[in-house]
């Protein structure tokens, strides 16, 4: 019912709907997450035999003192702030343009989606070439404006920027698809009404498209924030398995990865995972709170 309050019965029913998802998620996400939360308090520990000799918070004190972790947090934040807003804006703009054209629109949509399909190896290759300091495409363009060649991948100053540019580019196709779907779901009659009400294209965009697209924008930005906080693959690919020159692209997940898989410091890795989790959670909750006011369903 429209004004129904939750009851035990409705809850039982909802749980049935959630069940398949719940089972898988509990086994393959929540359980391991809880495990690693617990693991972050193991200070002496046989990882393979699951024998805990000592508990404590020293993993956390370690990372809070570790300058590398500080750097990782800082880099991660820079990355998130650099990537998310631009991704949302650019993919929205492209989706709008794609939505407005008729001729060749199918072709364009496919083209814009290609990077998302193309293999990561190929992408890393191309970006290496684009960023190459001697003969890279980017420096070539910049040279047209009289800018001296930049060692994008070798200079600690520019490495993060290079990473951000590539990441935005890579996630565009995905977000464009989501925005296209969102645009498609907006009823034509609102545009008709707005046109009658004297709204020009821009006003239609700000007064109809944006508010009615807000659920998708919310989705894209929450997903973008979470994804960006977890950035790892791109770094691994772009900097050939290093965290960038002078660790300039060392992010939290990279830090975690290093601690876990190369240094065998499970507790510390888990602790950094926990910190990351709470950072993302905080930001996401802020987004959700904001969305309560600004997302129209």
């Amino acid at each position: 019912m429209l004004n129904e309050k939750p009851t035990l019965k409705s809850t039982a029913k909802a749980l049935l709907y959630l069940l398949p998802m719940l089972v898988i998620t509990i086994i393959f996400n929540i359980y391991p997450i809880l495990k690693s939360f617990i693991m972050s308090f193991y200070t002496k520990y046989d990882f393979f035999k699951d024998i805990v000799q000592q508990w404590g918070g020293s993993n956390f004190t370690f990372i809070f003192r570790d300058p590398d972790f500080h750097l990782a947090v800082k880099n991660t934040l820079i990355f998130v702030v650099g990537v998310v807003p631009l991704t949302v804006i650019i993919s929205l703009v492209i989706a709008l343009l794609l939505n407005k054209i008729k001729w060749l629109s199918g072709l364009f949509r496919t083209v814009y989606f290609l990077p998302f399909v193309t293999s990561t190896v190929a992408i890393a290759q191309v970006w290496h070439w684009i960023y190459n300091s001697d003969y890279g495409l980017l420096n070539y363009f910049l040279s047209l404006f009289g800018i001296n060649p930049i060692a994008w991948l070798e200079s600690p100053k520019y490495a993060m920027l290079a990473l951000i540019i590539m990441s935005i580019w890579k996630s565009l196709g995905f977000n464009i698809v989501l925005f296209l779907v969102g645009l498609n779901n907006i009823n034509e009659r609102y545009y008709q009404a707005a046109e009658i009400d004297g709204a020009n294209a821009w006003h239609q965009f700000t007064n109809v498209t944006l508010p009615l697209l807000s659920p998708i924008t919310f989705l894209v930005s929450v997903n973008g924030v979470i994804g960006s906080f977890k950035v790892f693959d791109q770094i691994f690919a772009l900097f050939n398995g290093t965290p960038g020159p002078s660790k300039s692209a060392l992010t939290i997940v990279y830090y975690l990865y290093q601690k876990f898989y190369t240094e065998w410091k499970y507790g510390i890795a888990a602790a950094s995972g926990v910190v990351l989790f709470f950072m993302i959670l905080l930001v996401t909750l802020i987004q959700m709170w904001y969305s309560k006011k600004h997302v129209h369903y």
Binding site: Y190, Q192, A193, E195, I196, N200, V208
Partner: protein, 353 residues
């Protein structure tokens, strides 16, 4: 703003034509109703005028200006949509203010004006609600307020009162009429309610199946329907239609023989069947048998049998018994003859426009 259609046709899908070669002029400053059965193309015609639809063929003029190629934005008309099309994310007040905002009117003024309109349509107690939390009629009224807000030079209303109760409906239609007359804005009003059309408009355009059946004043439409469709469509209760064959020789005296020869159908308005002779006006006399007698409110209707045809009279003075014989007097005004194609060939004033 004078609106002219020159040979306008429209098809949504390129195969089935919905409107066929419409030609008409709506004089500046008048209120014109479009009347017609469901699905005849009324909303479509409004969409063409507003510029939201482009004609498949033909030209549309606002005054002297050919606006066929202009879009809705450029045409600057006001419109109430049949489905309201309120912005779901804006409150009632914001919905009404929206056209004003687009016109870059100052916030203060906007609010003031919107509040006045909200009061006019009686939604001033719902200002902060979203459309989803309004009743059907309330939504419709908000839509009217929104259309009025921008003070357009051409106002299009697509069944704007269909969800309102009789009182409010009359009040609103008077309000619309008043505003229209005060401001002189050319108004086109789609309605399915002939009574409403009769009361509100300067002229009525009757549409059927994408063709204009008649475009004239309310009175002419009623008194001089140009064809059988209009005669049947206008008037409540509906006109009695009887095949000429049923009449035997009852009309021979009154109608010229050559006309009678072409006649296929006779239309008699229920009020043209009197139960007592009204001297000069009586045209013919027929003998019938009462089949039913009903009284609703202040209406008294008799359903009678005339040579196997059912006729309805609303002009019964006394109480009647079923099966009693009844002589009815056909009045001249209210009797029409139509030929095979449905065109009127007799009756009404002869000088129909």
């Amino acid at each position: 703003m004078e609106v002219t259609f020159k040979d306008v046709s429209l098809s949504y899908d390129g195969t089935r034509e919905i409107l066929h070669h419409l030609n008409f002029t709506i004089p500046e400053g008048t209120l014109v109703s479009i009347l017609g059965p469901s699905g005849c193309g009324k909303s479509t015609t409004l969409m063409l005028i507003s510029g939201l639809l482009a004609p498949t063929q033909g030209k549309i003029f606002f005054g002297d200006q050919d606006v066929t190629k202009q879009d809705a934005l450029a045409r600057k008309v006001g419109m109430v949509f049949q489905n309201y099309a309120l912005y779901p994310h804006l409150t009632v007040l914001e919905n009404i203010m929206f056209p004003l905002k687009m016109a870059k009117i100052k916030k203060e003024e906007r609010r003031e004006k919107a509040l006045k309109l909200a009061k006019l349509v009686h939604v001033d107690d719902q200002l902060d609600k979203k459309p989803g939390a309004l009743s059907g009629g309330q939504q419709q009224r908000v839509a009217i307020a929104r259309a009025l807000a921008k003070e357009p030079s051409l106002l299009l209303l697509d069944e704007p009162l269909s969800n309102l109760d009789a009182r409010l409906r009359i009040e609103m239609r008077q309000e619309i009429r008043r505003i229209q007359q005060e401001t002189g804005v050319t108004t086109i009003f789609v309605t399915h309610d002939q009574d409403e059309a009769l009361h509100i408009s300067d002229h009525i355009m009757v549409l059927n199946l994408g063709d204009i059946q008649q475009f004239s004043s309310a009175e002419t439409l009623y008194d001089n329907p140009s064809n059988l469709f209009v005669a049947k469509f206008i008037g409540e209760p509906v006109i009695n239609t009887v095949p000429i064959t049923a009449f035997g020789h009852d009309l021979d005296a009154a109608v010229p023989a050559e006309i009678l020869a072409k006649t296929a159908t006779v239309g008699i308005r229920p009020e043209a069947l009197q139960d007592h002779p009204i001297d000069a006006n009586t045209f013919a006399t027929i003998t019938t048998k009462v089949k039913a007698y009903e009284k609703y409110g202040r209406e008294k209707n008799a359903l009678v049998d005339y040579n196997g045809q059912e006729l309805l009279s609303t002009e019964i003075q006394g109480r009647l018994e079923n099966h009693q014989d009844l002589t009815l007097y056909l009045q001249k005004s209210g009797l029409y003859l139509f030929d095979e194609a449905g065109e009127r060939i007799f009756g009404g004033e002869q000088d129909v426009e």
